[in-house]
């Protein structure tokens, strides 16, 4: 199918392009930008005047809930929701049921996803069998089956020796390890950030130390083993400072944060609304501000949605009993734009954090609009205002802390592999 995207403002961080130009798509690839190729007759012309045309977004953490948690959400619903969010490639964590610790499960997931409309799905494999933190998985076999990296997701890995061996093994093959720094013992029993708000509310706390102590271990092991490590969902000011210092000393390490932590803090817990029960917890204002600044100065490499659809029954219980997590694959873009507006950051830099940078971390094609690359394109209206409600969200999970909040910026079209997988109806 030949598509002519007309008159949009093309922003492509990888190629430092920010200009009004036409984009031409054929046979699933971008064939030209600017002038039409010879004999190009479009089957479909998209009028992108007043809209932004950027690389399809790459989201480093989207839980699709299959296999095993279909009552929370399904592959179909979540892939469509991701497409509605402008996402053309996503990484999904292995904490499914059963966890993605076997090549067969990974292949099945990829197969299912390939045959459904929606983004390219890149599974992150389990680092240990059953995610139980004791025996390594067959990382090489899993990589052949399609895994891009390995992680424990939020499952604990308490045996430092196992972590060391995992890193050494991964370093042998140059596999990438995605690790969330959390000391299990220090975090035990906690549901909120250990600070003045949790103290006032009587909620058991998870101290910032739980992140920094674990981070110190990970950084030291990474230096020793030379393993490729990506840190997921940082949340503390001190943790970010440690990563900044490690990078300055030459350690090749990357990190991401979840978009909710860019805007929210412990102060939002005041009504005990379980939609604010997240992992990692929403921390203090100083932590939030450190995150916002670190995204600007490059200490944090990428933003992700950390999309975690949760059945409403699991949220309609007292805070401490609720399942943590927020749905948000459709909010990644507007919330990133909001951060950029508030911090006076360019659209180019903002889009980079959710397209080119995460594509590099994931090690997959995409995240850019180079001629000859896959036609994974997001076209959005940066000005349109809308309200987040169960009706305006496509995901089966309505558990977002931004429910009933106004948003600015929304996807109009999403092309994946040259197909128009999403077109806004409004």
């Amino acid at each position: 199918m030949k598509i002519h995207i007309q008159n949009g403002r093309v922003i492509d961080p990888m190629n430092a392009r920010d200009e009004v130009a036409d984009v031409f798509v054929a046979a699933g690839k971008i064939v030209a930008i600017g002038h039409a190729p010879a004999d190009f007759h479009a089957n479909r012309t998209i009028d992108a005047s007043g809209l932004i045309v950027c690389p399809g977004l790459v989201d480093l953490s989207v839980r699709l809930r299959e296999p095993g948690y279909e009552y929370k959400a399904t592959l179909e619903s979540e892939m469509l929701a991701a497409a509605a969010g402008g996402i053309t490639s996503l990484a999904c964590p292995p904490d499914t049921d059963p966890p993605l610790d076997e090549p067969g499960l990974v292949e099945m997931l990829k197969f299912r996803a390939r045959n459904l409309p929606g983004p390219r799905v890149y599974p992150i494999g389990a680092l240990t069998e059953k995610l139980d933190g004791t025996m390594l998985t067959e990382m090489a076999e899993l990589t052949e089956a399609g895994c891009c990296a390995f992680t424990q997701a939020d499952a604990p890995l308490t045996d430092t020796l196992v972590l060391l061996r995992a890193m050494e093994y991964a370093a042998t093959f140059d596999f990438s390890l995605w690790l969330r720094p959390q000391d299990v013992a220090l975090a035990r029993g906690g549901v909120a950030h250990d600070g003045a708000v949790a103290s006032r509310l009587g909620l058991p706390g998870i101290p910032a130390l739980a992140e920094t102590v674990a981070l110190a271990t990970i950084l030291q092991l990474a230096r020793e083993t030379g393993a490729r490590v990506h840190l997921t969902r940082l949340s503390t000011r001190d943790g970010i400072a440690m990563v900044r210092a490690a990078k300055a000393q030459g350690l090749a390490i990357t990190c991401d944060v979840a978009i909710n932590h860019v805007h929210l803090s412990e102060n939002d817990l005041v009504g005990f609304d379980s939609h604010f029960h997240l992992i990692p917890p929403l921390r203090g204002l100083r932590d939030r501000d450190a995150i916002r600044e670190a995204l600007r100065d490059g200490s944090i490499d990428a933003l992700c949605s950390d999309h975690t659809p949760v059945d409403e029954d699991e949220k309609q219980v007292p805070f401490g009993e609720s399942a943590p997590g927020a749905s948000g694959v459709e909010l990644l873009l507007p919330l990133t734009l909001k951060w950029a507006r508030e911090m006076d950051v360019s659209l180019m830099q903002a889009i980079d954090l959710i397209s080119w940078k995460p594509a590099q971390i994931l090690g997959v094609p995409g995240g850019n609009l180079a001629v000859g690359s896959y036609a994974d394109i997001c076209i959005f209206d940066e000005r349109v205002e809308w309200i987040v409600t169960p009706k305006t969200l496509s995901s089966q999970g309505n558990n977002t802390p931004f429910l009933n909040q106004p948003m600015q910026g929304r996807v109009r079209y999403t092309l994946i592999d040259g197909h128009l997988d999403f077109e806004a109806s409004h």
Partner: protein
């Protein structure tokens, strides 16, 4: 927008003392004063809540608190139904909201809720119909507002006013919903110096931000106090590596006659109960002339009557 108040500032739920205006706290104390006599009369009832149904929803077992709420409700001529819902992580049983909806359908007017999770009363209050009020009888570590109020009532009875007092709360503040409610009440009512005394492991992070002065040394903390509130120390604290032993705790943070002598000579000693004699408090002090621990209990009925009367009125 305080979830406890109606748009015109009247009390709709009692969930926490945090954020309640001083005028409302005072109104509750004054109303409780009027109810004190009812217990002395032959007919210990007033017809205020006749025809109203009050449901005790206790997800956490408790005999004494539940009993005082029951007596208070009956003295207001209300109908009382007790539900003790066993909680076990294995058998989830009926979801809380389903229980609440079923009881609401049985014409409940008020729920008295005790639950092991902080925020449980807020959660239930968000879901009840507009004519139903929720009273928090204790949620996790967060709040126990009626206990805080009866402690304030006790202080006012013995000391007359709040504006010139130094009050110390001693013990496991970290796990105490009573302490949190007391701190909010004391600061709202204008007590100029509220102190918390305990080892670092038993004081919550950032507790100073609640408006208190922190002491780790009990002797300096008690100097010049008018009111000393002792908190119960539970056995579990030893298991969680928060303390080595009850004996060491008593040595440094237990209230003995010698330590009491450091406070003002007319200082009163309070304890929300039940007491662990020899752990946080010496029997000689608990039974001594400065202890007001027994009278504290009797005020609980009048205070709870006041809370229920204020919530139930003007809702037709």
């Amino acid at each position: 927008m305080n979830p406890q108040l109606t748009p015109d500032g009247k009390l709709r739920h009692l969930l926490t003392l945090d954020g309640l205006p001083r005028a409302i706290l005072t109104q509750i104390l004054d109303t409780a004063e009027s109810f004190m006599d009812v217990g002395e009369r032959e007919v210990k009832k007033v017809p205020l809540l006749r025809g109203k149904s009050i449901f005790n929803l206790f997800f956490e077992p408790s005999t004494r608190t539940r009993t005082t709420f029951e007596i208070a409700a009956k003295r207001l001529s209300a109908d009382v139904v007790n539900l003790n819902i066993a909680t076990s992580s294995q058998s989830k049983g009926e979801a809380i909201l389903d229980t609440v909806d079923n009881l609401s359908a049985m014409h409940a007017d008020m729920f008295i809720v005790r639950h092991g999770q902080s925020g449980a009363a807020h959660f239930i209050a968000r879901h009840v119909a507009p004519h139903i009020s929720v009273v928090n009888a204790g949620d996790g570590r967060h709040a126990h507002p009626t206990q805080g109020l009866l402690d304030m009532f006790t202080i006012r009875r013995y000391k007359g006013a709040f504006h010139n007092l130094t009050v110390a709360i001693v013990g496991d503040v970290l796990h105490s919903r009573v302490a949190r409610s007391q701190i909010h009440a004391l600061t709202t009512l204008g007590v100029p110096e509220v102190r918390v005394i305990g080892p670092k492991t038993l004081l919550p992070t950032g507790v100073e931000q609640m408006g208190v002065k922190v002491f780790h040394d009990m002797e300096s903390g008690l100097r010049g106090c008018d009111v000393i509130i002792m908190l119960r120390l539970q056995n579990e604290r030893m298991k969680g590596a928060l303390l080595p032993s009850a004996q060491e705790y008593f040595k440094f943070f237990g209230l003995t006659p010698e330590k009491l002598a450091l406070a003002k000579p007319d200082a009163i000693v309070m304890h929300p109960g039940p007491m662990n004699r020899g752990v946080e408090i010496d029997s000689e002090v608990a039974d001594g002339p400065q202890s007001v621990i027994l009278p504290q209990v009797t005020y609980g009925i009048a205070v709870r009557m006041a809370v229920m009367a204020l919530l139930a009125g003007g809702t037709a």
